[in-house]
């Protein structure tokens, strides 16, 4: 019977129906980090439980790592304590851990794919809502809470209810200056931040077919901002080409068998969906948020809607019927699990090259992982940013959620390539975040205000 990847993966991992009516689902890959795991290990110890599949959990630190100096012990006492706790927990339970002294360290959603741990057809869980990122490979990847981290550690399973599947097709060619970030911001704007509750989003269509893995990850990453706990793209040749030769990807004779299995897990052509939505790529514009959730956005040439939420307007200091374009910024942040990969840095570098960051703007470029940083440095990209007046940092989450020293102050406005513009998200209770593509952030950093990136992209009519 024709079926979706979601259902095929679900069925292959279903252990049984629990007495509670939920499904006991086997989790193929469990990723953990320092923020949402320490209490889980404590609960495990209190209950006297063991970790039966320690090799199926991989740990890193990303949220609290300082990105200026990563020398141990960290200057921040709590950051150090959390790191020590993770080291101790991983040692005790036999879990692989990548700290900043290892080349593998980085934001958990950047390193999973980079190491080839993230593969098609796998169920992936992590105590982090942006776990949906890994769906770009045709994995079913979901964010969980700390008690569930304990459950996965103790049983390699989760108690879950199945999701419905909404197929989202994006067809055609994106126009110059329009990026994957604009696609997902537009999808969220159209379907709403609650639109995906109860759904997994399956992204497809000719636009997605042509996208790189980095771009697909940007899209899947923000599924959760649209309310969808999981988002995925069916695996194809692009997926396989990305994975081939990676540290934890199958190799030799196993490779061909893996590809055959991966292909078999993709949604069938005539699969039926609980809902379908179609977008034309050509209709998508460079997009920027004006409010306090990622659905509150406009195309750069548009004005904030007349019926805009008054609470959001008051917090942001915007008026309805006015453009976001031209808004002065104080900080520019490029990075995060949404847009902290090599291609994001490359796109931003194209804009930044030969220019200077506007006076009074603090600009941060924070690579998503050590490997991304090293690769960018090898290509000399770091120098472009440094010459322009950006700070070139070590790998981590940084100002995406400001658990390290990188924070907004007061009511500062930040042009940010991250994923959340929630009140206070970037570390100041009154700080303001404008989400946009890395290229748009780069353009804003140079201009000192929000602008249309197409004006600085050579030969592109806005």
């Amino acid at each position: 019977m024709a079926d979706t990847l979601f259902h095929k993966v679900w069925d292959a991992h279903k252990v049984r129906t629990l007495p509670s009516g939920q499904t006991q689902l086997f989790i193929g890959l469990h990723l953990i980090h320092e923020v949402t795991s320490p209490q889980a290990f404590d609960m495990l110890r209190q209950a006297g439980l063991k970790v039966p599949f320690p090799e199926r959990t991989v740990a890193t630190i990303d949220h609290i790592v300082p990105t200026s100096s990563q020398k141990r012990p960290f200057l921040d006492v709590m950051a150090e304590e959390m790191t020590v706790a993770l080291e101790k927990n991983c040692r005790e339970f036999g879990i692989k851990l990548y700290l900043p002294d290892k080349m593998e360290q980085g934001i958990v959603h950047v390193i999973g794919p980079q190491l080839g741990l993230t593969q098609p057809g796998v169920t992936i869980a992590c105590g982090d809502s942006h776990t949906s990122t890994h769906g770009a490979f045709g994995a079913i990847a979901m964010g969980i809470g700390t008690s569930q981290v304990r459950d996965v550690l103790a049983s390699q399973c989760l108690a879950m209810d199945p999701l419905k599947v909404r197929r989202i097709d994006v067809n055609g060619q994106l126009r110059p200056g329009v990026y994957a970030k604009d696609v997902i911001l537009t999808i969220i704007r159209q379907l709403g931040v609650q639109g995906g509750v109860g759904f997994a989003y399956e992204y497809g269509g000719t636009t997605l077919d042509r996208m790189t893995m980095d771009e697909r990850m940007t899209i899947c990453n923000m599924s959760i901002e649209g309310g969808a706990r999981a988002g995925y793209v069916n695996p194809d040749e692009t997926t396989f080409a990305y994975l081939k030769g990676r540290q934890f990807a199958p190799s030799g004779a196993a490779w061909d068998k893996a590809v055959t299995w991966w292909k078999s897990m993709a949604s069938d052509k005539n699969a039926t969906y609980d809902d379908r939505v179609t977008l034309e790529a050509a209709s998508i514009e460079p997009t920027v948020t004006w409010g306090i959730n990622p659905g509150q956005s406009v195309a750069i040439g548009e004005r904030i809607p007349a019926n805009a939420d008054p609470e959001a307007l008051a917090y942001m200091g915007f008026d309805a019927n006015t453009p976001v374009r031209g808004t002065k910024i104080d900080v520019a942040f490029i990075g995060s699990c949404t847009n902290g990969r090599l291609s994001d840095i490359e796109e931003a570098a194209k804009i930044v090259k030969g220019h200077k960051v506007a006076k009074g703007v603090k600009a941060l470029m924070v690579p998503g992982s050590r490997v991304v940083a090293a690769e960018a440095e090898k290509r000399g990209l770091h120098q472009i940013f440094i010459d322009a007046g950006f700070e070139w940092r070590g790998a981590g989450c940084s100002m995406c959620l400001a658990m390290n020293p990188d924070k907004l102050e007061g009511r500062q406005v930040c042009a940010s390539s991250s994923n959340r513009n929630f009140k206070g998200r970037q570390g100041s209770p009154t700080g303001r975040t404008l989400l946009m593509s890395p290229a748009m952030v780069a353009a804003a950093a140079i201009a000192g205000e929000v602008m249309d990136v197409r004006e600085v992209l050579e030969g592109v009519p806005a």
């Binding site: 292959a12 320490p38 209950a47 949220h63 969980i144 459950d151 199958p250 196993a254 959620l401 209770p429």
Partner: protein
Amino acid sequence: MNEITQVSGHGLPLRGNDIDTDRIMPARYLKVVSFEGLEQHVFEDDKKTNRGPHPFADMRYQGASILVVNSNFGCGSSREHAPQGLARFGIRAIVGESFSEIFLGNCSVLGVPCFTADHETIDKLQTLLEKSPETEMVADVKTGAITAGSMKFTAQMPVAVRDAFVQGKWDPTAMLVDKFDDVKKVAKHLPYVAGF
């Protein structure tokens, strides 16, 4: 495990859609290795920036057990620190228009039942609690019956979740570790575990 059949006490009305977990528990309070003491920081920034007194800072709602919210409550970050903070603040049930899934799952494993009802009903209940904070509320898990003073309505909860609370099976860990042979069997059939 405890059976949770009923929650009673005072209600705490909190208006607003899409209230995210960053607001419930600002990220700086995630720099901890335990959940203890998180109740002190619930809505800390909202309390400061709210126009007018924030319900969580309002003395009239001190000691409340049932939180009454609007739609998509708890969206955003998966941080369990948010429901942990609410639970430690004293919230033992939540009635709202809708919840984000991760938040809902977190509440379930903490033994905090979440009920849903339509906008008009929630709005009426919030207005009632704003006028009369001393209103006694009872939320019956088994039937979904919610009473607040003279106001009565039936709220929804997925049957499986309801049964889990009523039968005291809301913490899944014991069930998940119970049939470990079944888990091994599934693992053995997955090519990426068994080897391609």
